[in-house]
């Protein structure tokens, strides 16, 4: 291939960058609005209905109540994520989740250590463990 002049190549590079960025923004739009059209099954969306707990227990039920009162405004009623992340299929240990809930994340998530006691946090974790899919 014959090499281009540097100035001409510079203009082409700017054009290619713009096209690539616009293309990726377009892909993002397609993913946001038409996930079914690109056939990605079981893909987490905030519009999907919440999965029902497989085996609801008293702890999980109370945990869900705590979740709706304290967490849902950031993580969504169905815990599929809104401002905060999707909490389905968490692959963190109970201890780690406990730590995050009680200590919070600097600049990201408030601490609930003063508001929720240890049994509350454990019930919350029990509820989170029922969220699959």
């Amino acid at each position: 291939m014959k090499n281009w002049g540097e100035g001409k190549a510079f203009l082409a590079a700017i054009l290619a960058s713009g096209v690539a960025l616009a293309g990726m923004f377009g892909v993002a739009s397609v993913i946001r609005h038409g996930q079914s059209s690109i056939a990605i099954p079981a893909f987490a969306t905030s519009t999907q209905p919440a999965m029902k707990p497989l085996e609801p227990t008293a702890d999980a039920a109370h945990g869900r109540h705590l979740f709706l009162m304290n967490c849902a405004h950031c993580h969504g009623d169905d815990a599929r994520g809104e401002e905060g992340p999707d909490l389905h299929d968490l692959h963190r240990s109970d201890a780690r989740i406990h730590e995050v809930i009680t200590a919070g994340i600097k600049g990201e998530m408030p601490s609930f250590g003063k508001k929720l006691g240890d049994p509350d946090v454990r019930q919350l974790i029990t509820y989170l463990r029922t969220l699959h899919g």
Binding site: N3, W4, E6, K8, A9, F10, A12, A13, I14, A16, S17, G18, A20, L21, M24, F25, V27, A28, S29, V30, I31, R32, H33, Q35, I40, P41, A42, F43, A44, T45, S46, G81, E83, D86, H88, D89, H91, V100, I105, G107, E108, M109, G133
Partner: protein, 140 residues
Amino acid sequence: MNSLFWERAHGGLTHLPIALIFAAAFFDALAFFCRRSRKRGEFKAIGYWLVIVGALGCFGAVFSGLLLSNGTIGGTGAVLRHHYFVWPAFTLIVGLATWRFLVGRDPSRRAFTLYLGIMLVGCSLIGAAGFFGGEMLLGH
């Protein structure tokens, strides 16, 4: 394919282009500073191909990230900070690779100096994007 799958796919698809782009910058810098070396042409050839393959790899990295985040361009918190650096880095690397591809392996000294300077900015942006990406996983 749930969000955990895309989290792993994004991690896998991201590190290869990062490594390729950094290596491209390294070999191009070698070519720039070792002007009298007999290997100079080879360094330039390595930098040339690495930046092109790395830029192609960036598409996979960005695409998997979009799938992971449900098509989020901005977001909030750590995701937003990650994206502040991802989009400029992606744009810059695609532009640099396109320019290099079109100009060939041996641009003028002046153009190559400018290219290396912008490459340094691109590597810094990639590094920052990677840092905040890692913060999302390991920072809490």
